[in-house]
Symmetry: D2
Subunit: 409 residues, 4 copies
């Protein structure tokens, strides 16, 4: 039986838990140590550390302090791990906590982080999802019900100082191109809300001042928000520091490709059951820069999809050059228009794309000037038939239920 | 039994076949007419109209005149189709011709079109793929063998004049931002090599002068290069002109997501067996701008993948803002480095990504500043095990076989 | 390009084609020879050699002379193949002939062969299925449409004399237990209708007198009617005679597990594209008695099933001991009763189970005294929803269309 | 959050738990009541109530008193359920208990129940399987590791008196044909070891005397041992008594089709999370005799299979008539011979077939006199490649590890 090496108390502030941290820095001490071959469990907070509540107001989403995220459990030191190795992590299982069988999804206000479609949905909104065994549904979005593809949004090893410096430099350079942009182009280090785990005193202050924020995915993996890194998958992480320093958090009960709603997938507190081993010198042996992984043999088997195309011409008709991001945004907007014909509000449709096991495919990236992206919407998650017919769509929802929304203050 | 409504003679120039065209324009007359509910076949040239040969030199790839592509069979007029309808196309089957059981893949010279990784592979290269029933392999790339996910790279209906004008305007605007770029940002109309089907004389000349090039995917579908639009799928196309005017070409025996090699997938001549029907007024009923489709129930069932991550930091270490195109390029480069450890040349690895049923997923698009994309490489297409092991990779290929390459003239 | 080594003329009697035979005997000469590594095509008759017509009468099914079947193309000699080897056959592709894009299914009269449910459906009935590219439907059975899982019902190598003698002996022993049973327990050799391929004169007469009938599957494979031995699969056949002697026929466009209708699956004339190689001494190396195989990577991907259970208590309420055959019959009868609620006649429902990609699973064989079998009916093949709902089934068919039936003479 | 309505204490004898029973009888009182629409959990013993231990001796398997099984949790009364209704059960999740993360598999002695291959493996043997999150492996059978397809071996509703009488009558009739057979043809009521739940005194004694044993599957479902009735599936049970009376037990972490080892699958104690609803009058509406079900969207996705054929000629060469049970036994024996070539003992190979997600298909049931069955062995569960190659098999195991065996006393 696997021991739970890190426990969290959802009633306690994550800042009080020394085996939790919210920045990336090589100086953060290992919270626990394990041996290669060991199997163990880690409990985690939800990414916001409990800031979002199971209620019917989006005020908490509107008011969240994004400088505090993400609260990660770890780092786990693996004995014998050295820079250049690959840390092999088997995600043997992942689950919600018995005392917290729900998750949240939402859009941040455009003034506080925004999201992929923030120009269209600029205000904070929220939906709550209840877990029913392996399935979930939301009291705010009728007519959908699906199996969870449970995964950690964020998992990876500590960077070394050189990599950390490179991250900070390149992101600072980007920010400098438009420092006043709202939302910001990137997030620089922010000492006041940093939680450096077991690090204390001056060392903590120094590290906090330069600790990389956890928002973006980077070479070490980190906040990749890859829905397919799900329970049952096997991941090969680059190791940069002695002991590797594996941390994990930001668990998702389910997410659509892109995590377009940003706040976020179906976010939850929970636990991860994993096993670690090493491939010595694996980075050079296999030419690895970013993590690689193998998918789980156990995933929700939805296969009847309705697929929406998008090209890199934006809503204003402007032509972009082979821009998959623009193309995927168009595919998302196309899917939302379609779902509205069945009675969903735009916000509800947007949330479905952010939470359900929706696939986003890069379909064409060479046919100048248009990239083509496709959004794959599983039809089987709906209680009614959403396929096109000669008769046209039937409005299945009367609009009486919608997602909570909060005006900016 | 379905009649073959359009036939092509591979020994004849496509310019001599009046039921073929290579531009989009509403004035192109219907080559044939069918009724809703009809089932029929169309033969097609390969996209270059026979310019690339089954041999061991890449000179033809280097020298191809890209202003001539793509040679499409059609337009097929559907009686009763009106602007605003959806044309439903069942792709009942697609195949190669019995007299042409091979296809080609390659990279264009950076000076003549390039490709997704043209900075890394700037010269023309080619590989030839032989078809063995439902499977294919290449004498230029040992150790891979896979089932074809056969699909048309290009299919769609004629635009109306208003849409055509919008296309030309927005693409011209883009070109104007860097008119001398090599390769070009987009391709403007080009009358000299236009083939306007049955249109003749002055009308042909006028239409040729403004006929949209077939390279990019657009609102009508067109050159989407979506591998999943494969035989057995069902597509819903917007209709813009009386009779719809469905054209098809650019058949692919197989392709990886993104068609990153540009020249192209595994390109072939062949035939499409389809059935058409209408959803009257379907564009408004369903809020359709771009085509939507449902995947085939019969697709190659590869499911053991090795997945490579990429983030939007480019090869030079420069930070881009939520740019999926950059992220996918990194994932591709990561996969190529990995495959080189087993003995493949970079060009061979690049070709595998362009031809095999590789998936490209948009994994994260909101975690500023990094987008995350993943490339899914099916392990089952290789004759040997490409999974990582503690022992490290075994060099399975000795480098004695490589792809033909041609220096720029 | 693969040569077609055996051709058949559907207008000609199969008895006139010397590269066809309808009995198993080691003396039948090889019709053609190939080398290991060769790729080639064989054309085949339908299993009855053209006795069943594309019309709306079941008289031909009632009157068929079952002593003439199955007409096989071959034997193909493989140079170097020796007894004890495994002959590896890649079924690269299989298809219908362009001049015969239809197939038949039916039940024999109980007096002439019967079928799995012959006590319930004792008269000859027939349905005709038209092929539409990769799909099929029947004018006699509305509301179903599915992709073909094309496969040879019958494929295997020539037995040696010792094996042939064992077959004849054990089957004769069974027949002797109830020699007058209708339908018979097994079919003994029958010289008058034997077609011994290239064998002539006295040698043909001698072989015909003891040539094994092709109806049952046996150690060499033969008439296994395994729907999953489909195009794209790889089969390992035991070799008993010099040159192996591979023969094939009885092509099916589609079949449900069990081929319960007996006449048969969706039976068709067509062609097989295959490649052969050898594992020398493979029978002993791998302990092989019967063929083994690997399924195709390309199969129709139906996955939403309604599953019917059956136990080994028969229709009369009699308890059988761990009898899977009885259990599967009950599962079939249960599925038929269910489908009748939607308006199908029993005969139509029976035919759907015999033709569609229905799965039959052996679910429990140890819980004395009841075996449990399950029948998996894909819901996606129906034009309407056949899932149970609180409201109950809707009768979708008015009974105006049914299958032709012929009274016994 | 779903309440746990029935709890079990693994340290306590199941006979002391009043919400457990081990016979089928309409007089057993409901242990708990729920409403349609309710979601709840039930804990269960392993089927033997704790008789088999996590150790390295098979003595407990040899000595088990099979008259005590199966210990079921329930019956659960559903308010409003009436005879003729269908009880719809959503199996929302199923799991092992945190204090019991292991299971057992074994063969009974031929003198005490036997198994499918008891003629070949007549002595008691056992293997212990440890659970690692969603995966399992055994210290007694090296080289295999697979994801659990967790399911209840036994689930169903209480019979009414008429059905109970029919069961007892038909099974008694079978037993009477060979009353001294070892193992017995069926198991008659056995009062001494009956546990009638909340029923006490004379009523309990009367019911115990005629209570049906739980071993065989019957019309109500019961001990179907259908591996596909797994967590996430939806089952429609016939209702025979007021309140339905749903009971469940015999949880399996994994099982191969047929549960050929009989003792049993990978047997475990655990819990079931379910939701119930009703289709009023559903039995008549849909013509339902036995339960029907829909499979889970979440199942282990193994798809590379090696498939073994078997025909209805037994090991002694005797011909049976269309007997799928004999055919499946031959397919199993063929698979065992194959696996032995890689170093497994016969017992180990037999256990793999009993525990892993092996499929058993009914392939042909009409080609007199031979039925054909196939056993589908997933190759991905092995640590090494078990596919046939020209070089022949490599012995991967040295035989130093085998399963505990116990001689008959």
């Amino acid at each position: 039986m696997a021991d739970t090496l890190i426990k969290v108390d959802l009633q306690q502030s994550p800042y009080e838990n020394k085996k939790v941290h919210n920045r990336w820095h090589p100086d953060i001490p290992m919270a626990v140590w394990v041996n290669p071959g060991d199997e163990f469990k880690l409990e985690t907070y939800d990414w916001t550390g409990g800031a979002i509540k199971n209620d019917d107001s989006a005020d908490d989403v509107r008011d969240v302090d994004l400088s505090t995220v993400h609260f990660l459990s770890g780092p786990v030191g693996v004995k014998g791990a050295q820079p250049g190795d690959l840390l092999v992590v088997d995600l043997l299982d992942i689950g919600a906590r018995d005392d917290s069988l729900w998750g949240f999804n939402g859009f941040f206000s455009k003034k506080n982080g925004g999201g992929f479609l923030t120009e269209h949905y600029p205000l904070a909104q929220k939906s709550i999802w209840d877990f029913h065994g392996m399935f979930t549904n939301s009291r705010h979005i009728p007519g959908v019900n699906f199996a969870g593809l449970i995964h950690p949004g964020l998992i990876g090893c500590l960077p070394d100082q050189k990599m950390l410096d490179a991250w900070n430099a390149r992101e600072a350079e980007l920010i400098a191109t438009d420092p006043d942009r709202v939302p910001g182009l990137a997030n620089p280090p922010n000492a006041p809300t940093a939680h450096m785990g077991m690090l204390t005193g001056e060392a903590a202050a120094k590290a906090a001042a330069e600790g990389a924020r956890t928002v973006p995915p980077r070479e070490h993996g980190g906040n990749c928000d890859i829905k397919d890194l799900s329970r049952g998958s096997k991941v090969y992480f680059p190791v940069y520091v002695e002991g590797a320093g594996l941390s994990v958090g930001d668990l998702h009960f389910s997410q659509g490709d892109g995590e377009i709603t940003f706040c976020g997938a179906i976010e939850m507190a929970g636990w991860v059951h994993m096993k670690v081993s090493l491939i010595k010198g694996g980075m050079a042996k296999y030419g690895i820069k970013n993590p690689i992984f193998k998918p789980s043999p156990i995933v929700p088997n939805y296969k009847d999809y309705l697929i929406f195309e998008g090209i890199s011409v934006d809503e204003a008709g402007k032509q972009h050059y082979l821009d998959v991001t623009v193309a995927y945004r168009q595919a998302c907007l196309n899917a939302i228009e379609y779902l509205k014909k069945f009675g969903y509000s735009g916000a509800q449709a947007y949330s479905i794309l952010g939470t359900a096991p929706v696939q986003g495919h890069i379909s064409g990236v060479v046919d100048v000037p248009n990239a083509c992206a496709t959004l794959w919407l599983p039809t089987e998650i709906f209680d009614f038939d959403i396929n096109p017919t000669a008769a046209g769509p039937v409005k299945m929802l009367d609009g009486s239920i919608d997602m909570p929304i909060s005006q900016d203050k």
